[in-house]
């Protein structure tokens, strides 16, 4: 647990943290993918993890969510060890839009309904559950598309449906893994506006992102990763720092993404 960064001290101090990583190492093989990661995400934060391809962003996200267990160090979710955390309804997860089954006939409403599954378990959705589903659809502006097959949606609409699923599960943490890859530019803007408004309502947002302009415009805090943390702090400081160049190992401007 010898972290060179001073940040470690206040990491441990915070009991309220939504996500807490302390001295985390992880590798799929003997070579570590991420090394010595310590960070806290507190309730209501809008944080973004940025880094080049292969920098371990997605691995870090899996460690945070308990989908992977650290080789060294500790990962905690809502105060519990991440892999033991079992109240999945508190976390909304939105993947790259390409990841979910593309051909499957399923309506937007059926997708959003899944958000209620952690609440109903083996049972049926009650009238109250359906109301929550419909409210979530309304929040993301997808009510008119409720009975439309997901396959007929644009990338941006589809991602809204997934956000609605997270809202239907009444998640207080929203984790998005490069949500706007393959989404047209206008929809991207609207998508981030939606995230902003959800964050203002108190939902913690954690964004894994390669689109740096989106990050600097919307997130309050940036974690810059390339196997190790190169920067962790307010977005304004990140913009002025040289962390990006060091993390990416060059001095070019990366606003174009990868």
């Amino acid at each position: 647990m010898s972290t060179p960064l001073a940040r470690e001290a206040d990491s441990r101090a915070d009991d309220n943290a939504v996500i807490e990583l302390a001295g985390v190492d992880f590798g799929y093989t003997a070579t570590p993918v991420v090394k010595d990661i310590s960070l806290n995400i507190v309730p209501g934060e809008y944080a973004a993890v940025v880094g080049p391809n292969g920098s371990g962003k997605s691995t870090l996200m899996k460690l945070m969510l308990g989908l992977l267990r650290p080789d060294e160090g500790a990962a905690r979710l809502f105060g519990e060890p991440s892999h033991e955390f079992d109240d999945g309804s508190r976390i909304g997860y939105v993947a790259q839009h390409a990841s979910a089954s593309k051909e499957m006939p399923i309506t937007v409403r059926e997708v959003v309904k899944m958000g209620r599954f952690p609440h109903v378990g083996f049972g049926r959705l009650s009238e109250g559950d359906w109301k929550i589903v419909d409210r979530a659809l309304e929040t993301v502006g997808m009510t008119a598309f409720a009975n439309r097959p997901v396959t007929q949606l644009s990338g941006g609409q589809r991602q809204r449906a997934f956000i609605a699923r997270a809202l239907a599960s009444e998640a207080d943490l929203l984790v998005l893994d490069e949500p706007t890859v393959g989404v047209d530019i206008e929809s991207v803007e609207a998508f981030y506006d939606l995230l902003d408004s959800l964050n203002r309502e108190g939902i913690t947002v954690l964004l894994i992102e390669h689109d740096l302009s989106a990050v600097t415009e919307h997130a309050d805090r940036v974690v810059c990763l390339n196997r190790e943390i190169y920067f962790d702090g307010p977005t304004e400081e990140f913009v002025e720092s040289d962390a990006l160049a060091r993390a990416f190992g060059t001095t070019v401007n990366f606003l174009g993404g990868d």
Partner: protein
């Protein structure tokens, strides 16, 4: 032999009542309609088995197809064949009177678990491990049966290609049990299976044990293919998992609709297929699959027409409103 063993155990008695009841109903239907194929008791059982297949195969197939796992059914059917051979072998050597379909279920379920564990260890379902399991199953089956052939004359064709006339009360009873288990488990875990099928990572994040639901899924698949093998045969059984589901996907808008449509298409294929094979003297499995493929082609055409018309009538958005569905699950 087989029947006495199980009847003594009392396990099958209530199932025989169901078969008798069904047979009585079919005879009544024969009297009413005069359809020749309804006059024989073996056809009564074959139709019952067919109808059950028409429900359970697309039901499980829906969850497999949308995960690009369609071929796992084929692999498991071939291990089921090894299971049949084990049953025949054991019977010939020890004179136990165990139904070969029972050993087939057990062997196929073990193989299913094995495929799943390999995929968990390697983090992916891969063609190679599936191909190895498939050919091992089939090789084991043919080897055991060829050894067996000296002592006991066994018709392998019945297992390879399926046969309407060899559906015994025992094997029909086994199928009823499999049917009940499959319907029960899918009914109970439908939410979880849907979530895992549609979005595995999100399902895991939401707290579902993806591994366990995958294990359940492959075990159910093993049950379906062995159950359906009696009529469909080892070689064609996987088609029933895939073809009606693929057809339904062409014309369905929602998941619930696609489940329903795939069952309807499968039942259509089974009933038409059994009728054609009875009157035309062809092998039921082959005819059923041909009918299913024919229906699939029609579904593709219907789907294309639907999309074309849909694009014309709804240029952009807004025509689809909340009125269509209210509180259906």
């Amino acid at each position: 032999m087989a029947s006495t063993l199980f009847l003594q155990a009392g396990v099958f008695t209530p199932l025989y009542w169901i078969l008798d009841l069904w047979s009585w109903f079919m005879s009544w239907l024969w009297n009413m309609t005069g359809l020749g194929m309804l006059q024989y008791e073996f056809m009564h059982r074959a139709i019952l088995v067919g109808l059950c297949i028409g429900v359970m195969a697309p039901l499980i197939g829906t969850f497999l197809v949308h995960r690009q796992l369609a071929l796992i059914g084929d692999a498991l059917a071939h291990t089921g064949f090894a299971g049949v051979a084990v049953g025949l072998f054991v019977n010939a050597v020890f004179d136990l009177g165990v139904s070969p379909y029972l050993t087939a279920v057990i062997v196929a379920m073990i193989a299913a678990l094995f495929i799943e564990l390999i995929s968990e260890a390697t983090d992916a379902y891969n063609d190679v491990s599936m191909a190895i399991v498939l050919s091992t199953g089939f090789a084991l089956g043919t080897t055991l049966i060829s050894i067996n052939a000296g002592g006991l004359a066994v018709g392998v064709n019945q297992f390879l290609f399926g046969n309407l006339s060899t559906v015994s009360p025992d094997s029909a009873s086994i199928l009823l049990v499999l049917f009940a288990v499959i319907i029960g488990v899918v009914g109970l875990t439908r939410n979880q299976l849907l979530y895992v099928t549609f979005d595995e990572t999100a399902a895991a994040v939401s707290g579902l044990s993806v591994r366990w639901y995958n294990r359940i899924m492959v075990m159910l698949t093993a049950m379906v293919v062995v159950g359906a093998m009696q009529i469909m045969g080892v070689i064609l059984v996987a088609a029933m998992l895939v073809v009606p589901v693929a057809g339904a996907a062409q014309v369905s808008r929602s998941f619930n609709e696609s489940l329903l449509v795939s069952v309807v298409l499968a039942e259509l294929a089974v009933i038409l297929g059994i009728a054609v094979s009875y009157y035309g003297g062809a092998t039921a499995g082959g005819v059923i699959v041909l009918v299913a493929v024919g229906i699939y082609v029609l579904a593709v055409v219907a789907g294309k027409l639907q999309t074309a018309l849909g694009e014309e009538s709804t240029p952009e958005m807004g025509s689809i409103d909340v009125d269509a569905e209210s509180t259906s699950d």
